[in-house]
């Protein structure tokens, strides 16, 4: 069987009871059915991830639903099992289609209530001369704090009456003031409450131009990254989700890497001061981020050891949870402190008037300088990597990883200066190598982390020891597997084509 379908939507202005009868053939009568008013809350995360992808998360009568962003009364996916009122994650819901969709939209983010809107819905039936309903109409007005932001009319056809519906929709479309909806309803609602602005994300590339001076470009990146990190502070303090801290750290890392990798923008002492201050800020959050990562991966860890050992992890994760609370408290104190606030503000202000602090390469065009740096770091990779085989000490693998990381940061920071297709190709190549190196490193670090945990515990019970020991063994195995892939991934990266593209994009002798 098939379901009745919404066949057309119009945005309209004026009085329906006056305009609509004019559009109907004589034999068709308009019957006013029921009126319904309801209020709903619109949820989204910090980046407006849901609305940006054309969906809307709404809560009506305590029930969460995922609907189309342009039609909030479209057939919903329904969320089940969530009792939370404010910030919700995908894992707060029972597993069903709704949960899967929400997971894809939100990832690790929490969605919070951003706006409340009222829907006034009036239904109509259109009847033919037999008195049979042949089409249904739904007029909806959406209000935000008593202000109407959109009125739409939706036509629904009945099965077996498509021809009638088609001819009537054509007549309605020809009326004045009946047009296709101009903007997504969910955006309009967000605009009405002043929440439509998508905050800057550290992952977005900063738009630079080739002629900008090094001083100018580095200042711009530094400034933007300070602004982004400051914008995430509230989310970290409220502990809405773990992505706020992550974004904060990414922004600080980008700020530090641009200073480190593009030297000579400012006077040396200024560069060093900025690097030191933000290095301190980043280090303060290390432990909290580590704990976040372990807690987010709890299910993965549990799935990796035999069922019998699983209960042994309870103590460790509850210890992590306790430590996280302590860490969070101290980060909150730090971020709210006068020392931090005045220090970060002072650096931001300094950048506004940093014109006088000119390093050796301050006046050079940025593209020339960053091309040189990118090509230099690219050439360093084979130098470290070519000697790696299965018996090379781990230190050399770490060195290769760090070199790759530098190159990746440079590509991320300056991608706006190059052809997207070229950047896409080299980033993809590099990413594959980096993934293996990253895994290798993550497994080593995690192993150490767990060792430290065991060592820090006095009188560790057998169950916990066995479970954590099991996990360490699994990590060791994964680490070995990643390590054995390094040579292969390196040779994939170190081919002629990649070298040619790098040369083309970044070398003086290349296409530039």
């Amino acid at each position: 069987m098939s379901s009745p379908v919404k066949i057309r939507r119009w945005e309209f202005s004026g009085d329906l009871s006056e305009s609509l009868p004019n559009a109907l053939p004589q034999a068709i009568s308009l019957e006013t059915v029921n009126f319904h008013e309801t209020s709903l809350e619109l949820f989204d995360d910090y980046n407006r991830s849901i609305v940006s992808k054309g969906f809307a998360l709404i809560k009506e009568n305590g029930k969460f639903q995922l609907v189309s962003a342009s039609d909030l009364s479209s057939i919903p996916l329904e969320g089940k099992g969530c009792r939370k009122q404010k910030a919700v994650f995908w894992w707060d819901f029972e597993q069903n289609e709704f949960q899967i969709s929400l997971k894809n939209l939100l990832k690790l983010r929490a969605a919070s209530p951003l706006a409340t809107t009222t829907q006034q819905a009036q239904r109509y039936n259109l009847r033919n001369k037999d008195g049979k309903v042949i089409m249904r109409l739904l007029s909806e007005s959406w209000l935000v704090s008593d202000l109407e932001i959109q009125s739409t009319l939706t036509a629904e056809s009945l099965i077996g009456y498509d021809a009638e519906a088609k001819s009537i929709t054509k007549r309605i479309s020809s009326l004045d003031d009946f047009d296709s909806p101009s903007k997504t309803l969910a955006w309009k609602i967000l605009e009405a409450v002043g929440s439509a602005q998508i905050p800057l994300s550290p992952k977005q590339a900063i738009q630079l131009n080739s002629e900008q001076s090094v001083h100018d470009a580095v200042s711009e990146i530094t400034r933007t990254m300070i602004d982004i990190s400051r914008a995430t502070e509230a989310g970290i303090i409220e502990d809405t989700d773990t992505e706020f801290l992550h974004d904060y750290r990414v922004a600080v890392r980008k700020l530090r890497s641009v200073l480190k990798l593009i030297k000579g923008a400012f006077l040396n002492e200024d560069t060093k001061r900025l690097k030191d201050i933000f290095g301190d800020f980043a280090r303060k959050t290390n432990r909290l981020r580590d704990l976040d990562v372990y807690l987010l991966n709890e299910q993965t860890y549990r799935s990796q050891i035999p069922d019998a050992l699983k209960p042994g992890l309870n103590k460790m994760f509850s210890d992590f949870q306790k430590e996280r609370s302590l860490q969070l408290r101290s980060i909150r104190r730090h971020l709210k402190s006068k020392t931090y606030q005045s220090s970060i503000e002072a650096q931001r202000n300094w950048l506004e008037s940093a014109a006088s602090s000119e390093g050796a390469r301050a006046k050079l065009p940025i593209k020339q300088v960053c091309s040189k740096e990118i090509f230099k770091h690219f050439k360093l990779i084979p130098k470290t990597g070519v000697s790696i085989n299965d018996s090379t000490p781990d230190e050399e693998v770490h060195e290769l990883r760090i070199e790759c990381k530098r190159l990746r940061y440079l590509l991320e920071l300056f991608s706006s200066l190059y052809a997207p297709s070229g950047i896409k190709f080299v980033s993809k190549k590099l990413k594959r190598l980096q993934e293996t190196l990253g895994n290798f490193n993550d497994y080593s670090v995690q192993q150490e982390f767990l060792f430290e945990y065991i060592e820090s515990q006095k009188n560790l019970d057998n169950k916990t020891a066995a479970a954590v020991g099991g996990l360490i063994a699994v990590l060791n195995q994964s680490k070995k597997e990643a390590r054995s892939l390094v040579t292969e991934r390196f040779s994939e990266f170190n081919d002629r084509k990649t070298a040619l593209v790098f040369k083309e994009l970044f070398s003086k002798k290349g296409g530039n």
Binding site: M1, S2, N125, G131, I159, Y161
Partner: protein, 245 residues
Amino acid sequence: MSIIACYSSKGGVGKTSTAVNIAYAASMDKKRKTLLIDLDQQGASTFYFRVRPPKQHRPRLMLSNKNKAFKAIRETDFKNLHILPANQTYRNFDALLDSMKRSKLRLADLIDEIGYGYETIILDCPPSLSLVAENIFRAADRILVPVVPTTLSKRTFEQLKDFFEKTGYKKKSLCPFFSMVDKRKRMHLETIKDMRKSEKRLLKTAIPFRAQVEAMGVHREPVINFAPKDQSSVAFLQLWKEIRK
């Protein structure tokens, strides 16, 4: 999916009013997707839903080309209730079925195909004991048989049971119930008393004889919709509750 037929080989016993109201009750019960198939050439249930049979709607096409049948389905004024309308040409239905191989299963095949997605399918059947009837017996999970409490109706039901016995259909699927009961008539009361003793399959619900049921022809709606408090409406809802799974 459950398929319920409203059947009697006798005419004028309340088959169509039962089919129409049971279908309506089903569609209102937890929004069950319901399809009413009007197999009666008089098309009374089609008329009750204000639907006109589409042109070019012929049983031969319907059985040979299922897509045609699918396209003939109409949504009634009630969202979860759809109808496959009747047509005058059903009078050729028997001849048509007779000419086909596996003729006793053709209707079951058709329902299998077009019934996808429906939770409840109600068949409003023509009054006969023929191949169409046998198609209905094969297709339906339960067969609602209205019995007016008179000697003649009782006899008709006995004949139906005999037929089931002889041909090997399962008598289990037969659900007789009293229809058009007039409590002022002594014969009705006595037949009810009598049959309740001997016939264990009889449903508890009895549908009273009411003017409002006859008024369905004027309103062209199920009586439950335009007179929900009438005794007949209450009884039809009760009947649905008794037979739903």
